[in-house]
């Protein structure tokens, strides 16, 4: 079950895994995620779905080794299996024909869950401009796939080693200034989404973000993923993962992401 059939490295810490999960491959839509567990003592962690192949019965996951569980997953090889994989979870992206450009901006591994959304908006007949951002050239992932489904791709790196030097917001603002943008989709580190939201608020352009918070079950049971959206408590797993970025309290979310960080807490 959930056998890994393909493994490639985007960078030493970012791995692309193609995993057997025929039912999930069939049922998933852009925006969905899965919960994955590795090993008998394994933690349940959410991972977004980057792609799926219904015929092959596989889904693609992009995993960045940032902690115990993601390191374990990244260490798996072809023919190893994930102990558990369940999904697709969350609500699918609300995709349709917009009356203007759709700007899809992704930071770091956030480009992975963004890819199916880019595809879906393109398939719906939209003009799609994608803005990919990372610290440096090596951390820009899935560029070819994104180009395939985008009318235009803007690349931003912090150090200027590839594309233009600057933050993702500079790339988005350039598009906002030159054409009519109907919607922005932002997926990446919380602080990146926060600043994209602040920018697009200024331009009054509807903006959707996809949140990846701490979860346990992923089905609405535990509430660990709760966020403040427009003053209301919402669960990322069942109410999200996508929300109106202008309504999300990113500061609180960023704070809550540190709940189990060492060493200032008493976890474990």
């Amino acid at each position: 079950m959930f056998k890994i059939v393909e493994k490639t490295y985007f960078s030493p810490k970012v791995v692309r895994l193609v995993v057997e999960a025929p039912e999930v491959a069939k049922a998933r839509r852009a925006g969905h995620f899965v919960i994955v567990r590795t090993g008998e003592g394994g933690e349940r962690i959410p991972l977004t779905i980057a792609d799926a192949d219904i015929d092959a019965g596989t889904i693609t996951l992009v995993v960045q080794a940032v902690g115990l569980s993601t390191e374990k997953i990244c260490a798996l090889n072809v023919d190893d299996s994930l102990t558990d994989l369940v999904g697709p979870l969350g609500r699918a992206t609300d995709v349709g024909l917009r009356d203007g450009t759709v700007v899809c901006c992704g930071g770091g591994v956030g480009v992975a869950p963004l890819l199916p959304i880019i595809k879906a908006f393109k398939d719906a007949g939209n003009r799609v401009v994608s803005v990919l951002a990372a610290r440096n050239r090596d951390l820009i992932i899935l560029e070819d796939e994104v180009r395939e489904y985008s009318d235009e791709v803007v690349i931003m790196t912090d150090d200027g080693s590839y594309g233009r030097k600057g933050l993702v917001t500079a790339g988005v603002e350039e598009v906002l200034n030159r054409e009519h943008v109907a919607e922005v989709v932002a997926i990446g580190p919380p602080v990146m989404m926060k600043f994209v939201a602040l920018l697009t608020k200024k331009y009054d352009v509807p903006t959707v973000c996809s949140l990846n918070t701490i979860m346990v079950d992923g089905t609405g049971m535990c509430g660990a993923c709760r966020v403040n959206v427009g003053g209301k408590m919402r669960f990322v797993c069942v109410d999200g993962p996508e929300f109106d970025a202008h309504q999300v309290d990113f500061d609180e979310m960023i704070m809550r992401m540190r709940a189990y960080d060492a060493p200032k807490n008493n976890a474990k």
């Binding site: 039912e23 999930v24 049922a27 567990r37 090993g39 008998e40 003592g41 394994g42 933690e43 349940r44 115990l68 569980s69 374990k72 102990t83 558990d84 994989l85 369940v86 999904g87 697709p88 979870l89 346990v216 079950d217 089905t219 609405g220 049971m221 535990c222 509430g223 660990a224 709760r226 966020v227 403040n228 408590m233 669960f235 069942v238 609180e252 704070m255 809550r256 540190r258 709940a259 189990y260 200032k264 807490n265 008493n266 976890a267 474990k268």
Partner: protein, 487 residues
């Protein structure tokens, strides 16, 4: 198996037992007390607190039962177990007979014997109450019969019922689903149980702690269901992984939804999103399902020094007693009414108190205060007093003006109830829900889609294991009748 042996009240065995002692002699016997682990030891151990009756105790307690001609206890049981029947079998050490009697109406006797609120059900209707004496310890005897049957491997060789060539699906592997599955398997159906989590058992696994219901007990019951023809599928969410159409394509003659009341409620007060404030579901799931705090588990858990648990139900007691075992120096139950109104079982409250849990009743949190890192450091607790009775018949608490205390806590576990899980209802078109999210069902537990029945907390909104199991039974009978009438 000796199923129909002594079971009739008119049988010679039962009559002989009744004549062996006078009612006066029987009622003079004191109720037996189940041995428990020492409270100090418990504070550092996850072992089951209640140790079960000894064989001698079980015989003595079973002797107390008067074998009434019109037993009230049976009416007090949501699944109408033949209580005098199994108790008299215990009295003669006919454990096979006792177990078979229990299994006729309950898929999980070892579970019910542990977690049912007998004091509000069967035992509250026992004739002894009318004599101002303590009722027969029915729950403890049920547990004894089930545990002893397990120890003696009774029932393990019972062949599965002949297959009828039909199959049904169950969504959720908690008490209602398991009860439904057991009954349908006994009728000859092939039963596929689909569970969202990676372990089977639902609330029995993620919710109720090991010290109250050991996983080995649940696993044994699951093994029995497997032998009877029930197939379990983990990591599958109905409505997500598999849609309604998928279930139809797979040829199921009926679907039972027992997806439970999974969604934790919060109170909507300031500071509830601070780090260290969490639902009891999150806290218990991390520890019970994920094994957090045990060697080899990757799942982290916050271990507070001073822990407040908000609420007065069994889940609140489970959380508080778990926090004690996780090493908290101080654990305080904060409950807005008085102890008389607490929904938790008296035994749970007593055990919690024995283990050092403090109770702050007539007290309600109004705000949590955090430090510069967003971690909770204290709670502002509003003192309450009891006013007029509310819709539930309990006197409703009203704030005492100006009486707010600030108490230091570095962890707060919110245990103020759950709502039905919307995952299944929202993913199947045509499945109607009530205003509060529970599924609409008719008197036979059939939903607004004819092939789908439902029971347990997804219908009730938050009840007990035994009521959920009763629903599973009832739905099984109704679905089987529907399928068989249509053949």
């Amino acid at each position: 198996m000796t199923i129909e042996n002594n079971s009739g009240r008119d049988s010679a065995v039962r009559e002989k037992l009744r004549k062996a002692l006078s009612a006066k002699e029987r009622t003079a016997i004191p109720r037996q007390t189940m041995p428990t682990l020492d409270a100090d030891y418990r504070r550092h151990s996850n072992e089951e607190v209640n140790c079960g009756f000894t064989a001698d105790q079980a015989q003595i307690e079973a002797t107390r039962c008067l074998d009434c001609p019109d037993p009230g206890c049976v009416k007090g049981c949501p699944v109408a177990i033949d209580i005098p029947g199994f108790i008299k079998a215990v009295q003669t050490d006919d454990i096979a007979g006792a177990y078979a009697t229990l299994r006729r109406t309950s898929a999980l006797p070892a579970v019910c014997g542990r977690v049912c609120p007998q004091e509000r059900q069967c035992e509250s209707k026992c004739i002894y109450n009318k004599m101002k004496k303590e009722p027969v310890a029915i729950g403890n005897l049920e547990r004894y019969a089930a545990d002893t049957a397990r120890g003696r491997h009774i029932g393990e060789n019972t062949p599965a019922a002949p297959r009828n060539g039909l199959k049904v699906a169950v969504i959720g592997s908690g008490p209602s689903g398991l009860s439904f599955a057991g009954d349908m398997a006994a009728r000859g159906y092939d039963v596929d149980v689909y569970e969202a989590l990676h372990q089977i058992g639902g609330v029995l696994k993620y919710g109720i702690p090991e010290f109250r219901l050991p996983n080995s007990v649940v696993d044994y019951e699951l093994e029995g269901l497997r032998r009877a023809g029930v197939h379990f599928h983990t990591d599958t969410i109905a409505g997500k992984t598999l849609g309604y159409d998928d279930f139809l394509d797979m040829g199921y003659s009926g679907i039972f939804v027992g997806s439970g009341a999974g969604l934790p409620r919060f109170m909507g007060i300031p500071g509830e999103n601070l780090i260290g404030v969490m639902s009891s579901n999150e806290y218990l799931t991390r520890i019970n399902l994920m094994g957090a705090g045990r060697p080899g588990s990757d799942t982290p858990v916050l271990k507070g020094r001073s822990v407040a648990v908000i609420g007065g139900g069994n889940t609140a007691m489970d959380s508080a007693r778990t926090a004690v075992r996780m090493g908290a120096e101080r654990v305080v139950i904060v409950y807005r009414r008085s102890e008389n109104e607490m929904p938790a079982r008296a035994e749970e409250v007593r055990h919690a108190r024995e283990e050092g849990v403090e109770f702050r009743t007539l007290c309600n949190p109004v705000e949590y205060i955090g430090d510069e890192n967003g971690r909770v450091v204290s709670a502002r607790l509003q003192r309450m007093e009891l006013g007029e009775p509310d819709a539930s018949g309990r006197r409703s608490p009203v704030p005492v003006e100006g009486a707010v205390d600030t108490v230091e806590f570095d962890q707060v576990i919110v245990s103020v109830g759950v709502s039905p899980n919307p995952l299944v209802p929202s993913s199947i078109d045509g499945l109607e829900t009530e205003r509060r999210g529970t599924l609409v069902v008719d008197e036979n537990l059939r939903t607004t889609l004819p092939l789908i029945f439902a029971g347990g907390d997804i219908v009730r909104g938050g009840a007990t294991v035994i009521l959920a199991m009763g629903d599973g039974r009832k739905a099984a009978a109704a679905m089987a009748a529907q399928i068989e009438s249509g053949r």
